[in-house]
Amino acid sequence: MYIDRKKITPDIARRAARTTTVVLILIFLGMVFVYWNIQVLRYDYFRFRALQNIIKTVELEAPRGLILDRNRQVLAENRIDFTLYLIRESVTDWERTLKIASFLTGKSRSEIEKIIAKYKGNPKSYLIPLKDHFPLASVAYVESRIDEMPEFRIDLKPGRSYPQLGFGSHILGYISEVSDKELQNQSASGYHMGDSTGISGMEKQYERYLRGEKGTQTIIKDNQENVQQELSRVRPKIGQTLVLTVDLNLQRYIEELFQDIQGAAAVIDLTDGGIMALVSKPAFDPSIFSEAITPEHWNELMTMPDPPLRNKFIQGIYSPGSVFKIVMALTALSEGIITPQTSFFCGGELLVYDHIFHCAKSSGHGWMNLQSAIEKSCNIYFYNLGKRLQINTIARYARLLGLGETSRIDLPNEAGGLVPTTQWKERVFRQKWYAGETISVAIGEGSLNVTPVQMLRMISTVALRGRKPTPHLLDHIEKEGTTVYRFPANFETVPIPHALFEEVIAGMYRVVNGEGTGRLARVETLEICGKTGTSQIISKDNPRFKALAKEKRFIPNSWFACFAPREHPRIALVLLIENGGDAGLIAAPMAGQILNRIFQQ
C-alpha cells in the first residue's frame, strides 16, 4: 500500500484501510489455524505430556522381615529412618550445594560428587540418597531452611536395626546398598540403585523372604517435585519373619565366655540339626553397615589380619588335630584292621619309614587298646593305625563323617576344607603320596584341613551313631502369623555299624569321665563324651620349632568336640580356641561349663 502522494486524501485512507483489513484477516486466520492445530488436532499428545509432568508413581520401600530367635526374642527389626536426598533439577549453584551437602552429611566433597555421578543416567528430578540415618537434629535444620535450599529433601525410609548390639552378628550378617554388579544381575527382580540387600548371614541367605514387596504411590507433584495430592497407594508388604533355631541367651552366654578369645564355637540340637548358638570371634556390629560406615572404616575391616566379617565357623580352615583320631578309630574298626581289643605299645616314640614320630607323653603310655588310646589321646597307637591304612581309605571315612565336604548349612560362602587323597596330591603337586604323610594325617595333622562346622557335623554323626545331620539356623518362616516354610530335619545314614560307634563313644566317655585329656570338662550330673585336639601350627620338624613355639601366633589351636548325654544324645558342641594351647586345659573346661548351663535349664 504505497502512499504515492504527499498529502493523505480520503481516497488513500480508504484504500489503506481496505488493504489493512485484508492483512488483518490473513493474520488472524493464520493464528486461529495454528492454535486449532495445537489445541484440537494435537490435543491428545499435549494432554499426555501435561499429565506426564504432574503424575508420578513412586516406589514405597517395604520394611524387611523380622528375625527372631527360638524364643521369639528379636534379633533384627525395622525402625523409622530419615534419609537426606538431593534433587539435581533444583540446584542453582553447585558450589554452594556441595558445600551444604558436605556440611550436612559429614562426607567430603569428592565423596558426594562420587555419589551423584552414580546417578548420571537417572532423570534430573531423581531423588539421590546422600545419607541414610540422617540425625533428627539435622532433619529439623534442613526442614526449617527448605526455602533456601530446595535441592535437599528429607524422606522416611524403613531402616534396619539389630537390638542385640553385635551378639549373633555372624548368624544375622548385615545388609548394605545393592552393588552395581548385583544391579546388573538382578535388575529383573526389581532392585534399584539405593535399595538394600543382604550381604552375608541370614540377611543374605533368606534375602528373598526378608525383602518384602515394594508398594507404589501415585501422586500429583509440582515443578519442584513437591507432592500436591495422592491419587492412589499400594501399601508395601513387610518381608516374612524368620524364626531361628538359635537361643539368644545361650548365644550371649558363649559370646561372653569368648570375650578375650579368638576362635569359633557352635552348639547343635541333635534332635533336628538346629544350631542353637554360633560364635565366631572377632565379631562385628551389623548396624554399622546400614549406618554411617566410612570408606576408611570399611577398609580397616577388610584388611585387618583377622577380619571380623569372616565367619570362622564356616570359613575358617584348621587342622583337626587329635579330634581326627575318632575318624581313624572308626576307619580302622570298619576296615577290620583292628578289633576293640587290639593293643599297641607306646614307648613315647615310634620309628616309621626311617623317621621318628613322637607321642605327647615322652615317657610313653605303655600298652594301649582302642578305648585307652582315645582316652589318653596316644599318638603312637594311631601312628600304628596310619601305618596299616591307605590314605584314600581314611579319606573315604572322613568324608562319610562330614569332613572335607560342605555341611550345606544355611549360610552363604561356606568353605570346603580338604581331606587329602593320592589323586589330590597327584593333581595339585604332580607328586606321589608318601606313606609317611599318612602317619601325620593319622593324628589330624599334615594337609588335613577342616572347618569347625565340619567338625560339629562329624561329632554329631558319632553321637547319633551314624546319622549325619544337616545343620541349619532357620527353624521356620512365618508370613502374617502363619508358618509358610519349616526347615526339614535331615539325616543321612552313614554305613558304619552301630556297635563300632559304641566302642569309640566308650573311649570318648573316658576322655571326660576317666583319666582322659578332657577330664576338666566333666559335669557331675551329665554323661559327656568328648575329644580334645591340640593342633600344631608349625611342625615339630621345623628346625626353629623351639624358638618359635613361644610366640603367641604359633601356640597350637585348641579343639574340643563333645556331646551329651551319652545315651539318647541331645546336644553336640564344638569349640575352637585359636592359639589356646593345651586343649585339655582351655577348651575342655569351657565346654563343660556350656553343657552344664544348657542342661540345667
Binding site: 484501510a17 493464528m31 486461529v32 492454535y35 490435543y43 501435561a50
Partner: protein, 356 residues
Amino acid sequence: MKDYFRFFDKTTFLILLVLAFGGVSLIYSAGYSGQQHHYLKQIFWVLFALVCFFIMFSIKLEPVFRHSYLILAAVCIALLIQLATGRWIAGTRAWLRFGFFQVQVSEFVKIPLALALAKFLTTFETITLSRLLKLAGLIGVPVLLIALQPDFGVSFILCSFFLVILFMKKTRPILLIMLVALTVSVSYLGWRSVLKPYQKARILSFINPQKYSKTSGYQLIQSKIAVGSGGLSGKGYLKGSQSRYQFLPTRHTDFIISVLGEEFGFIGISLLFFAYFILFYRQFRFRFTNDEEFYFIYLFNGLILFQFLVNVAMAIGLFPVLGITLPFVSYGGSSILSFFLGEAILFRIQINTYIQ
C-alpha cells in the same frame, strides 16, 4: 460534554476494558498456587491507567505533535540517565524505582517515538537514502539505548515501526535490498558480540526446543504443553495443571496467553483473537483530521499488532522467547499505562473529527 460521550468509541473502549480486566483474572489464576498478589497490583495499575487515559484524552493534540521531537529527546535523555545511574534488578537496568512501584522507562518510548515518526512521515513522499538514514537515526537511538539496559523485548518491538513505514511509504528498490543486507549483517554482528549466552540459548532452543528441553527450551515446551493440553474447551478456571503446578514459567507476564489457552481452551483463545480483531479493525479505521494523525494511527496500531503477534507466536513456539508481553492483558504496570496513554491519543484523534 454530551457530544464527547456521543462520539466516543464505546465499543472499542469496552474491548480494552474486557482485555484489561480479563487479564487481571488470568493473572489471579497464574498466581493462584503461589499465593502471589500480582493481580492486586494489576488492578491498581489498570485503574491508574484509566485515570491517565482520561487526562491524556482531554489534552489538545496539536501541541503534543508540535513538540514531539522534544518529547522524544527528553525520553532519550531519561534513558541515558537511567543507563548511567540505574540499579541492576534481575540482570537489567530497565527499572526505575518510584517509592513503592518500579517503572520501566523503555515502555514510555513507544508513544513519543510514534508521534515523532508520524510527524516526520508527513514531510516527504518517497524514502530516499538520506531520509532512510534519518529514520534509522530516529528509531535507532532509542532502540540502542534500550538494548543497552538491556531490554531486548521492547527494543525489538520498536523496530516494528520500520516495517509499518516500509509498508506505507514508497521506497526505492535498491534501498530495500540495502536494508535487507543491513539487517542480516547487524543480526550477525549482534549474534557474535552483543547477545548474551542465555539469549543465544533462547534462540537456539527456539530452533530445536527438544534438544534444550531441560534448559532454555523448557519454557517453550512447557508453554506449548499448557496451550495444547487445554484442548477445545480448556481445563476450567484455576484448574490448569501446567500453571497451577508451576511448570509454566513467567506465566503472569510473557505467557499469560498460555494460562488462557490451558484453562479456557481453543474457545477462549478464539474469543481473545476475536476481541483483538475487532479492536484492530476499528482502530485502523479511526477517523483523522490531518496526516500526522493518520500516520500515528497506523504506527501505534502496527506496534500493538506486532507485539500481539510476537507474543501469541512465542507461546506456541513459533517465535523465540524475548520477554514480550501481551498488550493490555499481561501483568506489568508500565506496559498497561503506556498502552492506555497511546489509546487516549487514538481516541482523541477520533473524537476531534466530530468535535472541532
